[in-house]
């Protein structure tokens, strides 16, 4: 067992966990943050995406010891990034309005990947959106509505 201190969605935690435990399992089991999903467990699908010190990562491939001292944002904390007390982040609002979510399994990862994308390219073109979300697989929407949601979120941010 190792003692890990990390900050998740603004809250500090101190945990006794096996050092090789996947960050995904620590979030879901130890911290009860079940918004982060497991699809493939091997880095292919992106449903476990979270922000680790601001970078998009697949939490199924991160051993928790490598998050010592880190700051993590999961889907549960995304709204707070928009401002204190916000219920939904503009990206979440746009996914809702544009039908970017159906069964919802891919959605937490898609939202975080979109957040990371818009930090890098506030006004992404379609190919940048496709590249930014290429690691996030969706079995339901056919992607078109997701791309529309991302474009709408970019417009919303741009008009602020």
């Amino acid at each position: 067992m190792s003692t890990i201190t990390l900050t998740v969605n603004g809250e500090p935690h101190r945990l006794e966990v096996p050092p090789m435990k996947r960050l995904l399992d620590v979030l879901r089991e130890d911290l009860q943050l079940t918004g982060t999903k497991e699809g493939c467990g091997e880095g292919e699908c992106g449903s476990c995406s979270v922000l680790l010190n601001g970078d998009l990562v697949n939490s199924c491939l991160v051993p928790v010891l490598q998050t010592e001292g880190a700051t993590i944002t999961t889907i549960e904390g995304v709204a707070d990034l928009a401002g204190p007390g916000e219920r939904l982040h503009p990206i979440q609002q746009c996914f809702l309005e544009h039908g970017g979510a159906q069964c919802g399994i891919c959605t937490p990862g898609m939202i975080l990947a979109t957040h990371h994308l818009l930090e890098k390219y506030p006004q992404p073109d379609l190919s940048q959106i496709q590249e930014g979300l290429a690691g996030n697989l969706c079995r339901c929407t056919g992607y078109t509505r997701i791309f529309a949601a991302v474009q709408a979120a970019a417009r919303m941010e741009g008009s602020k």
């Binding site: 091997e42 880095g43 491939l61 051993p63 490598q66």
Partner: protein
């Protein structure tokens, strides 16, 4: 079946020196863990045989890019995202930047390291062909000292390398001497990003008065390891880019390709595609005057 994480140990000594000391005290008993995009996949699939791991992911000493007038050095812990962000790499080593952009998704590029891609030793990995074309030099480090080796000597066979159990890959050096070279790279797979290649080549050449006066071709998935295509290079060196030269190049490609048959493709298909890619490379030298 997924492995039980509780059966594994992972340590993260605070400095490069401390990591080397652990590796030296019990050579072979620890497996190095960098970005984890290979090792954690093995853990997830229940096929990680190493029980004791040592993390180097947090070591600042391994994550750097430094340029002098004639050399660019990348620390082994440089991520693919770092590579895609660097201005010198973008202007002078486009083959490596292209390879980085092909290496899985953005999330994968944020974690995966150049050192991990090299040491993992897959014949299909994306950066090795570019590093072979640029004649990269590796610095290997242990508490016994350092050794500098040409990258061409690093891979011994399928997933076998010259790295000793107490050694780390420390850095990768590239000579800044490719002004005026034309470059070509192409990855053929089910999908360009994300999917492991069936065949890929990275090549560069200098053409003077219609003749090829220097040429390097690195290939993935054509042998049991990443390999430079020296016979093909010899077949075209000094030649004008004619139909005849292309024919001889195609024959050389087939002669020096000994790809494996695996779930991704057959040897026959890989050889043919590689010949097509080399031909396309030669045509690009002909039709793109610069």
């Amino acid at each position: 079946m997924r492995s039980n994480a509780a059966n594994y140990d992972l340590i993260a000594p605070p400095s490069l020196e401390a990591v080397l000391a652990v590796l030296a005290s019990e050579p072979g008993s620890y497996t190095v863990l960098a970005g984890g995009t290979e090792i954690m996949v093995a853990l997830g699939a229940g096929r990680l045989s190493a029980r004791r791991l040592i993390s180097i992911q947090h070591l600042r000493e391994l994550r750097f890019l430094s340029a002098s007038d004639d050399t660019l050095i990348l620390g082994a812990g440089t991520t693919f995202t770092d590579i895609r962000r660097d201005a010198i790499l973008a202007s002078e080593f486009p083959l490596l930047v292209q390879a980085a952009s092909w290496t899985g998704s953005i999330a994968n590029q944020n974690r995966g390291t150049l050192g991990g891609n090299i040491v993992n030793g897959s014949p299909a990995a994306d950066s090795p062909p570019a590093l072979l074309a640029y004649e990269a030099e590796l610095t290997l480090l242990s508490s016994r000292g350092t050794r500098v080796v040409p990258y061409t000597d690093f891979h011994l066979g399928y997933k076998r390398t010259i790295l000793a159990p107490d050694e780390l890959l420390y850095s990768i050096a590239l000579k800044r001497s490719y002004q005026g070279y034309k470059t070509y790279s192409r990855k053929v797979g089910t999908r360009k990003a994300q999917a492991i290649s069936k065949v890929a080549i990275a090549a560069l050449a200098r053409v003077e008065e219609g003749r090829i006066t220097d040429v390097r071709i690195g290939a993935a998935s054509l042998q049991d390891r990443p390999a430079r295509m020296t016979a093909t290079e010899q077949a075209v060196l000094g030649q004008a880019i004619t139909a005849d030269t292309m024919q001889r190049a195609r024959e050389a490609v087939l002669a020096e390709s000994h790809p494996i048959d695996d779930i991704r493709s057959t040897a026959r298909y890989r050889g043919q595609v590689a010949a097509n890619l080399v031909e396309e490379f030669l045509r690009s030298l002909q039709t793109d005057p610069r």
